[in-house]
Symmetry: C2
Subunit: 397 residues, 2 copies
């Protein structure tokens, strides 16, 4: 080793064991970490192709879809967003995007970069997109090709109903694109029943897998639209036409899949299906209710009217320093929660109860820790009310 | 668990312990797999930001560059290629691409999708791109903004000299973009000394890390060109302008980095720097020489005139069935080697000796296995010559 390289060789990593109650990543099961560290094999090895096939089948099950074009994109959730948009959109196409937080804003940006003429349907951050507003936009822009909407707005905690909007979109002859990053495997998400044409997600939320892959799925109607494209997809890396030959029967080499990340996702999906989707959604609902009872008993109010069960965005109480509380949670308790974004910067916390992190232990822990820290900061609330409120939810009827 | 989800829940993965001597992935050290399975923490956790900083410093060291804009892209090597191209190219820009294999062909495709007017400088597969041909192209297309070339053409094993071409490119006022996927940490690669303006690589070759990240680096000249862009980068996910704020001091949230993959890369880089770049390049050279002596003693000829030390593309002997040999190597020996691509489909093997796979043990193993299988297929060669040839290279002078 030369002295120069010696000086930049970092010590071995020693990441601490956090309790991940932020907007993602969530806690990862030891089973998933163990699977991820299985021996790396070739991406065209028959043993790996079998793992890819099984992974696809399990993604289909978790999305409640029979869509053949279902796969894990070799990138994070935002790559999944871009994959959906760039494959559906050609320059000059019209797209309606629901914008009520960071991820709707991002989808609009991605669509514009793909050459779409974007019509935004806006709502205040924390609110859901109103079906009437989508109907109005579809009426004003009858040539709309795709309507994009965020099912679970991670920046505000808003839980967007989709069924009514899906009916409108299809009645207008458009396709429905859904961001399910924070909803997959945490809240009800029925891709086929709700007639969703393109959906993407991330691995690091309610799937409780490390970040790095984006499960996506496309309906036959979406594939039919892609087959009629006049121009090549602007992204080579995310081109579904080529990826269909790689994830499909032909196994035509496209890129080298992230082998060990696929191992991790495979195990994470196994855990989801072992629990069962309905039981998993019920678990997220239960712990959300308990947390909510506790937070509200401490006087904290929720940002969204329609809150996700997987992400709890609450207002920072008057006189409490947002950053101090988060820093002390991290340094003294090893607990991560998320900061507010955009208009909620410094004004809200985002407490995730996703996947492996959604447990009674974590609900009581975060309530206890917050009660202790908020009391120190002089916030006014009845001591003990938070834990009592949460416990009531857990108590047998 | 419902009966339906039960039926798709796959069994736990049990990937076998292969010996990876194909075109990548290469064998991954147990140290890297262990680091990868360390607890997942938040991507904005101070402990993770430290790991990102250290990772960047070590990528700089391995690329022999001081470029500040050096990072690991959240995708595989092909995402690194696309990142470099889409950030440098605006619609209508002229780009020269050296095309002598799969990856030059891919770069041309990516550039065209970015709106570039591409001028190809071609060579037969297996040959290098001739500096004279680049000079001629630069003369014919004086407005060329970027020249893209593949340092290590994984599809043919050709090792492209860069110094002379770099001088021409810069004399013509253009930028040099280099594909270093199969060269990083395996053959000499001096980004600053050779005046490379944009370079990308993958983790699964000579870095011996699982696939999933793409180390990239941009010179100040490249950043200056990006700063003068008239249009947004067409890819949101790969937009350097935003990623500079995420990997830079501001840590502005862009996407959730693949935490555990970063752990793996961090450890893989540590291993590279512990060995030292010069010693590592010398090791790859030694084992390549031994393998080459052995293969040639068995009558196998190399495809490229200028062969990489990291990838050995050799012609399948007359009368030998390419696929049978590869399948038997995999099933009976657990050894992966690569098939030929394009014009070499069925006609060449690609034997990688990359990173952790580049060892005397593997050289003698693959030679012994090939000798045994080729003899069974009736290939004509002197038994024992291959191992003797390789051993001679290892023998003290």
């Amino acid at each position: 080793m030369t002295p120069e390289t010696n000086s930049v060789t970092a010590p071995a990593i020693t990441p601490p064991q956090r309790v991940l109650l932020g907007p993602g990543p969530s806690d990862v099961s030891a089973r998933v970490l163990a699977a991820m560290s299985a021996p790396t094999i070739g991406h065209l090895d028959p043993e790996y192709l079998k793992i890819m096939d099984e992974t696809r089948s399990m993604i289909q099950a978790v999305y409640s879809t029979k869509n053949e074009m279902t796969m894990a994109t070799s990138g994070t959730g935002s790559a999944g967003m871009e994959m959906c948009v760039v494959n559906l959109i050609e320059p000059g196409d019209e797209m309606i995007v629901g914008v009520n937080g960071v991820f709707g804003t991002r989808m609009r940006d991605v669509a514009e970069r793909s050459g779409a003429t974007v019509h935004s349907v806006e709502a205040d951050w924390g609110q859901i997109i109103q079906p009437d507003a989508v109907a109005e936009a579809l009426k004003q822009h009858p040539s709309t090709k795709v309507v994009g909407i965020v099912h679970a707005e991670t920046s505000t905690g808003a839980h967007q109903p989709l069924v009514e909007i899906s009916e409108m979109v299809h009645a207008a002859g458009a396709l429905l694109l859904v961001d399910a990053v924070t909803s997959i495997a945490g809240v009800e998400l029925l891709v086929d029943e709700w007639n969703i044409d393109a959906v993407y997600s991330g691995t690091q939320k309610c799937l409780s897998c490390p970040p790095g892959l984006a499960p996506v799925s496309f309906s036959q109607a979406a594939l039919d639209v892609m087959d009629k494209r006049q121009s090549k997809v602007q992204s080579w890396y995310l081109d579904i036409f080529m990826l269909r030959n790689y994830w499909g029967g032909d196994r035509v080499y496209h890129h080298t899949a992230p082998i060990n990340m696929t191992y991790a996702l495979h195990e994470a999906l196994r855990i989801v299906l072992e629990e069962g989707l309905e039981a998993r959604v019920a678990r997220h609902t239960l712990h959300h209710r308990a947390l909510r009872a506790g937070l509200e008993a401490m006087g904290l109010s929720y940002v969204p009217e329609h809150s996700l069960t997987t992400l709890n965005a609450v207002r920072v109480p008057e006189g409490v320093d947002d950053a101090v509380v988060r820093k002390r949670l991290l340094s003294e308790y090893g607990i991560e929660i998320g900061a507010g974004l955009g208009p909620f910067k410094g004004k809200a916390w985002r407490i995730g109860l996703m996947g492996h992190s959604s447990t009674r232990r974590n609900v009581l822990l975060i309530l206890a820790a917050l009660e202790s820290l908020l009391a120190e900061q002089g916030a006014a609330f009845t001591r003990g009310a938070a834990l009592a409120g949460a416990s009531d939810v857990y108590a047998p009827a």
